[in-house]
């Protein structure tokens, strides 16, 4: 396969490194490793910042590095423009001439781009090495992606990690999606959203899917003993902010607890700080940023994994919880996670508090049901989230080969056009 592909697949992501957190960043890292394992020439380019949870300052050493066997090149970070974020066109783009539509984009949309982390040096390098590479930009909102696709032209591909959020409707991003050679979606629902929002030809958006590490084995009993947990264990993982509906989860859980009096604990992991009101501390165990084994032990200990977010393109944490056999309760307003639950049969969905309470009742009063749904979820993940399959579909999408039928996932919802 590599002999027919002289171009280096160059994954461009704002942050990249062993201690970088975030869904898109994790995806970039695991996809790079999977492409490398497949024997495909791959590199990763990023800024020298740490991640979106950290200040926009250098964290990693600038220059060449190797992560998981994959060559990495880090460029000096260009911090966000200070408020009020005057619109900014990077020098590399000024040299080739800014897009004709630039001045027609609304002021606040151009200011948003100026308010996010970028790297002018990285964009210069895209111009310099454009003819030797195929660029895979991830995720969609950042200037490294927006300006990168402008500079890469026909050699630009996009893994957007698109959510149905207000930014997705900005004219800047509509323009970017329409000027990118191909869009690689993480799920069928994300593909449908991209087609719907940007009115793209169907063959311009393919579902390459996403994988997870299938090797971790959690020990739920040990986790419960370690933390002295009794009663029902509920689990949430990820960003603890309004964009993920975390405040809603806390409110729903508080009301459920007040109405039922059930003995329960919500186990949280995640790097960002969270404020739990003192009276809720008996039912919330916040472990903060934990190592991989502890994270998977916590999934394995869970009676129910709850994913309240509607801003998902795949949901790594949902797949990780299924891998450990935890049944899921997802937000019915999120097409991505609801379709995954429908396809796998690995859980239930809720639409408002009444549905949340009813679904929790149904799951918590029946251990056999929980185990069976968790087993279904695990089987689905083992079948649909293999990185080598995702890497093959990614290569096919970039080099526009036919997708081999043997790598097409068997799920009824995953569809490669």
């Amino acid at each position: 396969m590599p002999t027919a592909m002289p171009d280096i697949i160059t994954i461009v992501v704002p942050w990249f490194g062993p201690d970088t957190a975030g869904g898109a960043e994790t995806q970039a890292r695991q996809l790079a490793a999977a492409l490398h394992a497949l024997g495909v020439p791959v590199e990763v380019w990023s800024t020298d910042g740490r991640d979106s949870f950290s200040p926009p300052v250098p964290h990693y050493r600038t220059g060449a590095d190797v992560v998981d066997g994959v060559p990495v090149r880090r460029f000096p970070i260009t911090p966000p423009r200070p408020a009020p974020h005057e619109p900014y066109v990077p020098p590399a783009v000024q040299r080739i001439g800014q897009p004709a539509d630039w001045n027609s984009f609304p002021d606040h949309e151009r200011r948003l781009l100026a308010s996010l982390v970028s790297s002018d040096a990285l964009l210069d390098a895209i111009t310099a090495e454009r003819d030797k590479r195929r660029f895979l930009f991830i995720p969609y909102p950042f200037p490294t992606t927006f300006w990168g696709t402008v500079l890469a032209g026909e050699r630009g591909y996009l893994i957007p990690c698109l959510h149905d959020e207000p930014y997705a409707r900005y004219t800047t991003y509509r323009w970017m999606f329409r000027h990118t050679r191909r869009v690689l979606a993480n799920s069928p629902a994300e593909r449908a959203l991209a087609l719907r929002l940007y009115n793209l030809p169907p063959d311009r958006v393919v579902t390459a899917g996403e994988g997870i590490d299938l090797t971790p084995r959690g020990d739920g009993a040990a986790f419960r003993r370690r933390h002295g947990l009794r009663g029902a264990v509920l689990r949430y993982a990820g960003r603890r902010d309004a964009s993920k509906n975390f405040p809603m989860l806390l409110m729903y859980l508080r009301e459920y607890w007040a109405r039922r009096g059930t003995s329960l604990t919500l186990v949280l992991t995640g790097r960002d700080p969270v404020e739990i009101p003192a009276p809720l501390r008996p039912i919330v165990l916040d472990l903060g940023d934990v190592d991989i084994q502890e994270r998977h032990d916590a999934y394995a200990a869970a009676d129910v994994f709850i994913q309240p977010s509607t801003y998902e393109s795949f949901s790594i944490v949902l797949m990780e919880s299924w891998l450990q056999g935890a049944p899921a309760l997802v937000n019915a307003h999120c097409d991505v996670t609801r379709e995954a639950v429908e396809a796998s049969g690995g859980g239930l969905s809720f639409d408002g508090f009444a549905g949340f309470a009813a679904a929790l009742d149904l799951l918590l009063e029946n251990r056999a049901l929980r185990r069976a749904l968790g087993a279904r979820g695990r089987a689905w993940v083992l079948e649909n989230c293999r990185w080598d399959d995702v890497a093959r579909r990614t290569v096919a999408a970039i080099f526009e080969h036919e997708v081999p039928t043997s790598t097409t996932p068997p799920s009824r919802t995953l569809h490669i056009p």
Binding site: E255, W257, A258, G261, P279, G345, L348, A357, L362
Partner: protein
């Protein structure tokens, strides 16, 4: 109250729903009555009305004069105001957008406060009969992890392969049936969070937006405006900066009030949960007494 969707004829479910509706209507009536009777609430309502009346700042008040010199000055002022509207109006509009968001947050906070007061009153009313039937410490200990519940749960397939559960659609039908009997809940804090985010995103009024044009004439006008704005910044910038400081202080106060509201709601939830556990404990004791051992999750 036990609401169970496994009833064969559905009649108890209908009775339960009707009872819930009656309870909700009674609660609403009581809330309205409490609000009307409360002088503090009436004063708050008047303040909110005042905010509604005054929150819109106008840059276009009437400019008139009686005498000829006054009329001449008014005319000059009108011309100056018209000449500077490209500069002043956007600033005023930004401030109005913030005022609108802040006023909405205050309205919601007032509603949240009233709802909280109602919850406290409900708990006080509920506490009177509870005191007559207070459970013992031993009861509460038994209640934490009911051995009967544990045993029943453990019996449900500890190590054997789980039986095939119903398909997703069937399970969701069960969820919907149960959800239909769940008393309604309003989460006013979610509305508050959204309103606060709106206020925070609008608190910074800017006097320095991009001035540009496409045609030669537009570009010339933009250049002229930039020069005028540069000259007038001694006058306008300090006003905007003072207003921004006030906006920021106001959103800070709103944020803290919302946190206090959340803490109080959590307090009441803990109280309600503890009362519910007591009721569960009594129900379980009663069930054990009659040899009906089954896990009780909801009541």
């Amino acid at each position: 109250m036990t609401v169970n969707s496994h009833q064969p004829d559905g009649a108890p479910e209908i009775a339960a729903i009707l009872e819930q509706l009656r309870t909700a209507v009674r609660a609403q009536r009581a809330t309205r009555q409490r609000s009307i009777d409360d002088p503090l609430h009436r004063a708050l309502q008047r303040s909110l009305d005042d905010i509604e009346i005054t929150r819109v700042v106008s840059a276009h008040w009437p400019l008139t004069g009686r005498t000829l010199p006054q009329k001449a000055i008014a005319l000059i002022n009108k011309v100056v105001r018209r000449y500077l509207r490209w500069y002043i109006n956007p600033i005023v509009e930004q401030q109005n957008a913030f005022n609108d968001a802040a006023a909405r947050t205050l309205h919601l906070l007032a509603e949240a406060y009233q709802e909280l007061a109602d919850q406290v009153a409900d708990q006080q009313e509920a506490s009177a009969p509870m005191q007559h039937n207070e459970t013992t410490g031993a009861d509460r200990e038994n209640d934490v992890d009911d051995p009967a519940v544990e045993a029943a749960n453990s019996a449900q397939g500890a190590d054997e392969d789980p039986p095939a559960p119903p398909p997703y659609d069937e399970l969701m039908a069960q969820v919907r049936a149960r959800a239909a009997t769940e008393p309604p809940a309003r989460f006013i804090e979610l509305e508050l969070h959204n309103a606060l985010i709106q206020a925070q995103s609008r608190q910074q009024v800017s006097a320095h937006w991009t001035l540009t044009g496409r045609t030669f004439v537009e570009k010339l006008v933009a250049l002229h405006n930039r020069i005028v704005r540069q000259y007038l910044r001694w006058l306008i910038n300090p006003i905007v900066e003072q207003q921004n400081a006030a906006n920021q202080a106001l959103t800070g106060a709103l944020h803290r009030l919302i946190r206090i509201d959340a803490a109080l709601r959590a307090d009441i939830a803990a109280l309600r949960a503890s009362r519910q556990r007591m009721r569960e404990s009594r129900a379980n004791r009663h069930a054990r007494h009659h040899h009906h051992r089954r896990p009780v999750v909801r009541s």
